[in-house]
Symmetry: C2
Subunit: 260 residues, 2 copies
């Protein structure tokens, strides 16, 4: 019997390398393979697909065990993936079999996929060949209860490692706030239609200059759509949305040929 | 004969309010309507759809003429759009009829749409109802020749203002480096398939700590595809790609129902 090569699992996030969700998914993934993780030094929520073009980046080894290596990177979530795949992993002679980003503290369902650093990292990692998963829990709290997410990850990770899947593959997975026994199941569904509307409060700083701070709420345009990720979350299902990165609206190409 | 209301045109960018491409499109748009512009204080290239959640924002009036108002915002391109639509424009009692982001110094064709702050702003603006256009020139230089882009904008802006178009509508328009007479026309096309591969150079700072700097090249997976935006640009056509923001890969929902 030949030794079976242990899978390589690459992990990133946007909440930073000290976040609880990140530590939880690392412990989980290490049951199935060798973990290499690169995450931001500090929180990078809302950084979307941003990259750092005009500043240098730093990379620091933070944890080094037989089966788990964790680095921090001074850049964005996408920088973490790029520096891992285009520098660190080749240096280490490793090629991941699976990518995970998260577990995010907060939902990335609906249009949040566009603003999310977690999903920025998940999407970017998918460009390098192996299946990629963004995992988020619908709870922003630092001490959120990740047990239901971990229970699901314990089924998901071996399932993804166990079969040949057409790539690029990227999944946006969101888990409702619930104890594991309250989760009703999972639904493979689509991104909910809707947008954020912000309220900026305007105040004066100690020198009398106005400053603004972003705050707002999500407007769900189809709260009753049972094939949408927001509906799944609201009804205690785990929502799984397959993601693609061709932003072309193919349905409008012919119409727009008449514009000019 | 009743007085015809002048259109309101909202303009943003990611190169900052002092960029040449921004000044050129403002002068052009002011021929067709009242311009309200909000752009970043400094360059925000590569900032994608990033938003600023953990810091306050500043908004400063930089130019105030009868037909042109220009503000700078300390945040990202998407912050500029949000603060305009959710604070400034309501304060001014204005509702834009058209959104333009750019003119960017550098192409946003192919997968660049995902990293681009110009397209981040264009996409975000489209969420507020009026048609939205990201305009980019395939030339990074600060003193790039925008004449061909302006000549095209002089046809595009009245065309977009002159008819009822189904919204949300967002266009990613890229213009090749060429004098106006060298432009062969425009093609409504799709996002080219391909990804960036980065090379990080690693050097030591004066204190002996390693630092990394992102650099890389675009790998076009289909250089001969005549319906792709990269092909159009290479062949001196203006590329027009309609953009949608449902990232769901609908074609894979059924397949993935079998995963778990």
């Amino acid at each position: 019997m030949t030794a079976h090569k242990r899978p390589i699992i690459f992990i990133s996030n946007d909440d930073g390398y000290e976040a609880l969700g990140f530590k939880r998914i690392i412990e989980c993934a290490a049951r199935y393979g060798r973990v290499i993780a690169v995450a931001p030094e500090v929180t990078q929520s809302g950084k979307a697909h941003a990259i750092t073009m005009y500043e240098p980046l730093h990379l620091d080894l933070r944890r080094d065990e037989e089966n788990i290596s964790v680095y921090s990177c001074s850049g964005t979530p996408v920088d973490c993936v790029k520096i891992a795949y285009d520098w660190l992993l080749p240096e280490l002679g490793l090629k991941p079999d699976l990518n995970i980003s998260g577990i995010n503290h907060g939902s990335n369902a609906a249009i949040n996929v566009l603003y999310s650093g977690t999903m920025g990292a998940a999407i970017e990692a998918s460009f390098y060949g192996a299946p990629s998963v963004g995992l988020s829990l619908d709870d922003h709290r630092a001490d959120a209860d990740f047990d239901a997410t971990i229970e699901f990850a314990d089924r998901l990770i071996p399932a993804l490692l166990g079969r040949e899947l057409k790539t690029p593959l990227c999944l946006n997975i969101n888990v409702p706030i619930a104890r594991p026994e309250e989760i009703k199941g999972h639904i493979v569904c689509r991104q909910t239609r809707g947008f954020w509307r912000e309220e900026f409060f305007c105040r004066q700083d100690p020198r009398g200059r106005n400053y603004f701070w972003l705050t707002g709420g999500f407007c769900n345009h189809e709260p009753e759509a049972q094939d949408s990720d927001e509906w799944a979350l609201k009804n205690k299902y785990i929502a799984i949305v397959p993601i693609k990165v061709d932003l072309t609206d193919h349905s409008r190409i012919d119409e727009l040929k008449e514009l000019l």
